[in-house]
Subunit: 100 residues, 2 copies
């Protein structure tokens, strides 16, 4: 990774049944996080390790910590967290990576 760049990742599981319309709707809403300014290399992924129960992952990159902070404070992000993430995600873990 380039110096200063931050890769924000989160593994998560939804309260919705696998393959349900509610799951699909949540994932579609999550994909729109890509449109928030500063978000790069956005990926909505399947989590496939047999060693944990998480079913999905999101990975995105920011040019630097300030861009990441602006994303966190962006109204579209705050709205997504409050209206979708908190009620619909049952478990999650976040990891942020940077160059050493």
């Amino acid at each position: 990774m380039l110096a200063n760049r931050v890769r924000h990742t989160v593994a998560f599981t939804l309260v919705h049944p696998e393959g349900s319309p509610e799951e699909r709707d949540f994932l579609q809403a999550a994909e729109r996080l890509e449109d928030i300014p500063g978000v790069g290399a956005f990926e909505l992924l399947a989590e496939v390790s047999p060693k944990n129960g998480y079913r999905f992952g999101i990975s995105m990159e920011f040019a630097d910590r300030a861009a990441y902070d602006r994303y966190n404070e962006h109204p579209d992000h705050i709205r997504f967290v409050q209206q979708r993430w908190l009620p619909e995600v049952s478990e999650f873990l976040e990891f942020d990576y940077a160059a050493r």
Copy 2:
């Protein structure tokens, strides 16, 4: 991500003090995992989220699950796990990602 491709990631913390020669030696050994056949997009990273205590991360990609399995079974990987990972890593969590 391309179909079939698997991104194997692990966040971890060492038993060694921060900045110690033992830490440096472990990280140098970990970097050599990149030489194992099938390993692509190898990154040894700093884990920087204030929301967890993990200090490092490794990310690597395999063309498919079979290539990932061959890596897991490769003698150099098994030797690294037994001789370095198990005695020197205090905590870790693995996540594997694939295209949805």
